[in-house]
C-alpha cells in the first residue's frame, strides 16, 4: 500500500466528493515510495509475512533452500551464545533472529533463558511476544501480568493482552484491555483501532464507530500509525456502507484513496457505495480499478503458487 500524509481534516470536511472524488483518485499516481510499517518494537500488531518461493521449484525444494539460508543466518548467532552463554546481548540477538525466521518455539526458549540472566520488564515484554508468536497464549498472559506488576497500567502490555484476547475471539475482554490501554495513554492510536475492531466483532457498531472516529483526532507519528489511521477511515466507511449512510461512506473512501491510492479494499467499497447511490458507471470504474490492483497483487503472488 502506498501512503500520502493523512489528512486530519477529513472529519470536518463537508465537501461531497462522490463522483468527482472518484475521478480524482483514479487519476492519482503514487508519488511516494512504499513505506514498510515501522515495527513498534514491542507492540504485538502483526502476523508474519510469507516469503515468495520460485515457481520453478517444488515447495519442498524451496523449503529446503530457505531452511538452509535460515541456518546460515543463525549459525554465527548460535556460536556467539555458545562462546559467551551468559551474554544477554548474544542471547537476545539469537532469540530475535529465531523469531524473525519463524522458529517461534525456539525463540521463546531463548527468551526464557534470557529472562534468567536479565529479568527486566523489557525481557518480559519480549518473552510475552515470543510466547504469543508460538501460540502459547496462557504463558504470554502470565508473562505480561508479571510485567504489569513492575509497570502497572503499562499501555503496551495492556494492548498486547488485548491482542491475545482478540485472537481467542474473546472480544469483550479484548475491548476491556484496549480501553485500559487508552485510559493509560489516551493518544495510543493502535489501541483505539483495535478497540474499534473488537467492538465491531461483537456487532457493537455504534461504539466501534466512535472508536474509529477517535483515531481521526490523533496525530500518527510513524508509518505504522499512518497506516492504521487510514484503515480507521476505511472502517468508518465500511460501517457507513453497512448502515446505509452511503454519502458519508463515499466521503471517507474518497479521503482514503487520496492518501492511499492503492488501497484495494477502498475501491471495492467505493464501487459498492456508488452502486447503492445509483451510479453504476462510476461504480464500475472503481471496481475495475480494484480488479486492476488485485491482478497486480495476484501476479506478485503467482510466483508463490496461488493468486
Amino acid at each position: 500500500m502506498i501512503f500520502r500524509a493523512p489528512n486530519r481534516r477529513i472529519v470536518h470536511s463537508r465537501a461531497l466528493l462522490i463522483g468527482c472524488g472518484l475521478a480524482l483518485t483514479l487519476a492519482c499516481a503514487p508519488d511516494a515510495p512504499a513505506t514498510a510499517p515501522e515495527n513498534a518494537e514491542s507492540t504485538d500488531n502483526s502476523e508474519s509475512t510469507r516469503p515468495i518461493s520460485s515457481p520453478d521449484r517444488s515447495t519442498a525444494e524451496t523449503a529446503a533452500i530457505v531452511a538452509e539460508s535460515a541456518e546460515s543466518k543463525l549459525a554465527p548467532l548460535r556460536a556467539a551464545v555458545k562462546k559467551n552463554p551468559q551474554s544477554a546481548q548474544a542471547i537476545r540477538a539469537l532469540a530475535r533472529e529465531l523469531h524473525d525466521l519463524n522458529f517461534k518455539e525456539e525463540s521463546a526458549a531463548q527468551f526464557e533463558r534470557l529472562l534468567e540472566i536479565d529479568p527486566s520488564p523489557r525481557t518480559l515484554l519480549e518473552l510475552g511476544l515470543a510466547y504469543t508468536g508460538a501460540g502459547r497464549f496462557d504463558d504470554a498472559i502470565r508473562t505480561y501480568e508479571k510485567r504489569l506488576e513492575s509497570i502497572p497500567n503499562d499501555p503496551i502490555t495492556l494492548h498486547n493482552l488485548g491482542s491475545i484476547a482478540y485472537r481467542r475471539d474473546d472480544f469483550a475482554a479484548a475491548a476491556d484491555y484496549y480501553r485500559r490501554a487508552i485510559d493509560a495513554k489516551p493518544d495510543y492510536l493502535l489501541a483505539h483501532c483495535r478497540l474499534g475492531d473488537s467492538l465491531k466483532a461483537v456487532e457493537n457498531y455504534r461504539e466501534a464507530y466512535r472508536a474509529y472516529e477517535a483515531v481521526l483526532n490523533l496525530e500518527p507519528r510513524n508509518a505504522n500509525e499512518a497506516e492504521e489511521y487510514v484503515n480507521a477511515m476505511y472502517e468508518l466507511a465500511s460501517l457507513d456502507l453497512m448502515m446505509g449512510a452511503y454519502q458519508r461512506a463515499g466521503q471517507f473512501l474518497t479521503e482514503v484513496l487520496r492518501v492511499a491510492p492503492e488501497h484495494r479494499s477502498a475501491y471495492y467499497a467505493y464501487g459498492q457505495v456508488l452502486l447503492q447511490l445509483g451510479q453504476p458507471e462510476l461504480a464500475q470504474q472503481a471496481l475495475d480499478r480494484h480488479a486492476e490492483l488485485l491482478e497486480k497483487r495476484q501476479a506478485e503472488g503467482a510466483a508463490a503458487g496461488g493468486e
Binding site: R50, S53, T59
Partner: protein
C-alpha cells in the same frame, strides 16, 4: 418513515435482541442403530498428520440408486500416504431399508472404489432413469454407471473423465442445454507429499507453514493450484474435456473446494460458482454459447465486502430473501465469517453477512453448507458443518478446538440467528465435521442432514422438529431437459407469496443431496400455483396443489398457457 440509516440500526438492534419467534427445531443423532457402519480414514491419525491431504475429509451422497422410493447413502472414504495407490479404505453404499435402517450393499453394487476419495456427485448422466455416481479422488476419479439392476459398472476409462489431479467437489449440470448432464470437477492443489514439506519439519516452519505460531501442515498458498475441468457429455458414456474451449482455463488456477450450479442472472442458462481456498471465489457466467465468463470480482461475489479473498470451502445457492434471485453462501476458515452474498437483480452481489447476522466472528472453521427450510416456514435457513483443519490446535491454548459443533442459522425475514444450542441434542455433538448432504431420508417431509467427520463416523441428524410448517415436495422428471431436471427453477405460490427453489447441481462440500425439491409454505394448506421452468424452456404449471405429499412432475405433462 424512518430514514434508511435508522431503519438499519433498528434492524440490527432487533437482530441482536434475538427477537426470533416460532417453535424450536430439534435434531437428533439417528446414526446409532441405523446400520451405517462407517469410519472415515484420512491419512494418519490426528496427532500424526503431516499434510493437508489428510485434513480435508470425505463426502457423501444421497441417491435412490434402486428406485424404490427410499434414499440410499453413499459414503466416500480415504487412504494414507503409507498405503499404495488403490489400497485405501473402500467407499460404501448403504441401501435404505425403511424405518431409518440401512444395509451395506457395496460389494453387490460394485462401488467400492479404493482410491483416496474426497467427493461424490450423483446424477443420471445417461438419462436412463437411474442415478449414477462420480467419485473424486486425490488422483484419478471414477465414474460408475448405474445398470438399473442394483449394480454399477466402472465406465471411467470409456468416458475419459477420470484423469484429474487432486479433486474436491464436482457438479453435474447441463451447461450447453442439449438435454444431457455435463460434469464440472473442482480441483484443489498439488498433493504429492514428496513435493511439499511435512508439517512441523524445519523446512515447513521456515517457509511459514505455521498457524498462530504453531507449526502445522502447509496450506495451499505456497503450493501449486490445480486447474478445474469441464467435461461435455456427448452421449454413449463419452465425454470431452472442454475446459479451455469453454473459457474456464485460468492463468493461475484457484484451489477449488466447493462447487454449485444455478441460474443467478435468470437468463435461462445455468451458471457456476466455485468456492476457492484462500483466493478469489469464481462465479462463471454461462454466456449461452458454450462459453463462460469469470465474473466473480466484477459481480462482487468473489470477495467479501472488504475486497478480501477468504478461504472458501463449501457453498450453496438459495433465494434466502424471497426476491426471486438466488443468493450465495460461502463457508470459510476460522476467525473469519461465512459470507452471505445477496443477489442484486442478477448483476451484482452485496456481502450482507453483517447485516443479515451471519458475520459473528467465531473460532469455527466451516465446510459443508446448504440453504434449506428446516422449519418449513417459507424461508431458507442455513446449516454449516464445522471442524478445524489442524489437529494441532488442541495442544495449544488458542481458544479453539479440532472438534467443533455444527451451526444452524434460522432465517427470520432475511436475517439469521444461530440456534444450534436450542435445536436438539444432535447439535451438541463435537467432531471435526466436514461434508454435509441434505435429504428427507426418512420421507417424513422435513429436511435431515448427514454430516461426515474427519477420521470419525458420520452423523445422521434427523429432523424431529414439531409444530413446523407445511411443505410441497416435487420429484422432477425431465424429458426434453436432462432427466434429473437439474437447472430447473420452481416457483411455488402459497398464500399469495412466491417461493423460488432450484434443482441445483453440486452444492455444499464434496457432497450430493436429495434430488427432490422441498418447499416450506408455512401455515398454508395448499399451493395455489406450482410453476416449473425447465432448462429446455418448457413451463409446467400445477394449480391448487395440496401440501405435505410428494408430487412427481414429468416435463411437459402440465403445460402452462403461454
Amino acid at each position: 418513515m424512518l430514514p434508511r440509516i435508522a431503519q438499519r440500526w433498528l434492524a440490527l438492534a432487533l437482530l441482536l435482541c434475538g427477537s426470533m419467534s416460532n417453535a424450536e427445531m430439534r435434531f437428533v443423532d439417528s446414526t446409532p442403530g441405523s446400520g451405517i457402519e462407517f469410519k472415515a480414514v484420512s491419512g494418519a491419525e490426528p496427532g500424526k498428520k503431516g499434510w493437508l491431504t489428510e485434513g480435508m475429509g470425505n463426502g457423501a451422497a444421497w441417491l435412490d440408486y434402486d428406485n424404490d422410493g427410499l434414499l440410499d447413502l453413499y459414503l466416500v472414504n480415504g487412504s494414507s500416504h503409507q498405503r499404495k495407490a488403490g489400497a485405501g479404505e473402500p467407499n460404501k453404499l448403504f441401501r435404505a431399508l425403511g424405518d431409518g435402517k440401512f444395509a451395506d450393499v457395496t460389494e453387490k453394487a460394485g462401488v467400492a472404489d479404493r482410491g483416496w476419495g474426497y467427493g461424490v456427485a450423483a446424477a443420471d448422466y445417461d438419462n436412463d432413469g437411474d442415478t449414477d455416481l462420480y467419485v473424486t479422488n486425490q488422483s484419478d476419479n471414477v465414474l460408475y454407471r448405474n445398470e438399473g439392476d442394483g449394480r454399477f459398472v466402472d465406465v471411467t476409462s470409456k468416458s475419459a473423465v477420470g484423469s484429474s489431479p487432486w479433486s474436491a467437489s464436482a457438479a453435474w449440470f447441463d451447461y450447453d442445454n442439449d438435454g444431457d448432464l455435463d460434469l464440472y470437477v473442482g480441483n484443489y492443489m498439488e498433493a504429492d507429499p514428496k513435493k511439499i514439506p511435512r508439517g512441523g519439519s524445519p523446512e515447513a516452519v521456515s517457509t511459514y507453514c505455521t498457524y498462530r505460531g504453531i507449526p502445522v501442515f502447509c496450506g495451499p498458498l505456497e503450493q501449486r493450484p490445480e486447474q478445474d475441468q469441464l467435461f461435455r457429455n456427448d452421449g454413449n458414456d463419452k465425454f470431452v474435456d472442454v475446459t479451455e474451449a469453454a473459457g474456464l482455463k485460468l492463468k493461475t488456477p484457484r484451489f477449488a473446494l466447493g462447487v454449485v450450479t444455478g441460474d443467478y442472472d435468470n437468463d435461462g442458462d445455468v451458471d457456476l460458482y466455485v468456492a476457492n481456498d484462500s483466493v478469489t471465489n469464481s462465479l462463471w457466467r454461462n454466456n449461452g454459447d458454450g462459453t463462460f465468463s469469470d465474473v466473480g470480482v466484477a459481480t462482487l461475489s468473489g470477495l467479501n465486502s472488504d475486497g478480501r479473498a477468504q478461504a472458501g470451502m463449501g457453498t450453496d445457492f438459495g433465494d434466502y430473501n424471497g426476491d426471486g434471485w438466488i443468493d450465495l453462501i460461502a463457508t470459510n476458515f476460522s476467525n473469519d465469517f461465512n459470507t452471505l452474498y445477496k443477489n442484486l437483480g442478477g448483476r451484482y452481489f452485496i456481502d450482507e453477512s453483517r447485516v443479515a447476522g451471519m458475520s459473528v466472528t467465531n473460532m469455527m472453521l466451516s465446510w459443508g453448507t446448504g440453504f434449506h427450510d428446516f422449519d418449513q416456514d417459507g424461508d431458507l435457513d442455513i446449516f454449516v458443518a464445522n471442524g478445524h483443519v489442524y489437529p494441532h490446535v488442541d495442544n495449544h491454548d488458542l481458544g479453539t478446538s479440532f472438534r467443533q459443533k455444527n451451526h444452524l442459522f434460522r432465517n427470520h425475514a432475511g436475517r439469521f440467528k444461530e440456534v444450534g444450542a436450542t435445536s436438539g441434542p444432535g447439535f451438541n455433538l463435537e467432531r471435526s465435521f466436514r461434508a454435509a448432504a441434505f435429504a428427507d431420508y426418512d420421507n417424513d417431509g422435513d429436511v435431515d442432514v448427514l454430516v461426515t467427520a474427519l477420521d470419525d463416523r458420520p452423523l445422521l441428524l434427523r429432523n424431529d422438529s414439531a409444530g413446523i410448517g407445511n411443505r410441497i415436495q416435487l420429484r422432477l422428471v425431465g424429458k426434453k431437459s436432462n432427466r434429473d431436471g437439474i437447472g430447473a427453477r420452481v416457483i411455488v405460490t402459497a398464500s399469495n407469496k412466491a417461493f423460488r427453489r432450484d434443482r441445483k447441481g453440486g452444492g455444499s462440500y464434496l457432497s450430493s443431496s436429495d434430488p427432490r425439491i422441498h418447499v416450506g409454505i408455512g401455515a398454508a394448506k395448499k399451493a395455489e400455483r406450482v410453476e416449473i421452468l425447465w432448462p429446455s424452456g418448457t413451463r409446467d404449471l400445477l394449480e391448487n396443489v395440496a401440501a405435505n405429499r410428494e408430487i412427481r412432475v414429468v416435463e411437459g405433462s402440465s403445460p402452462a398457457k403461454q
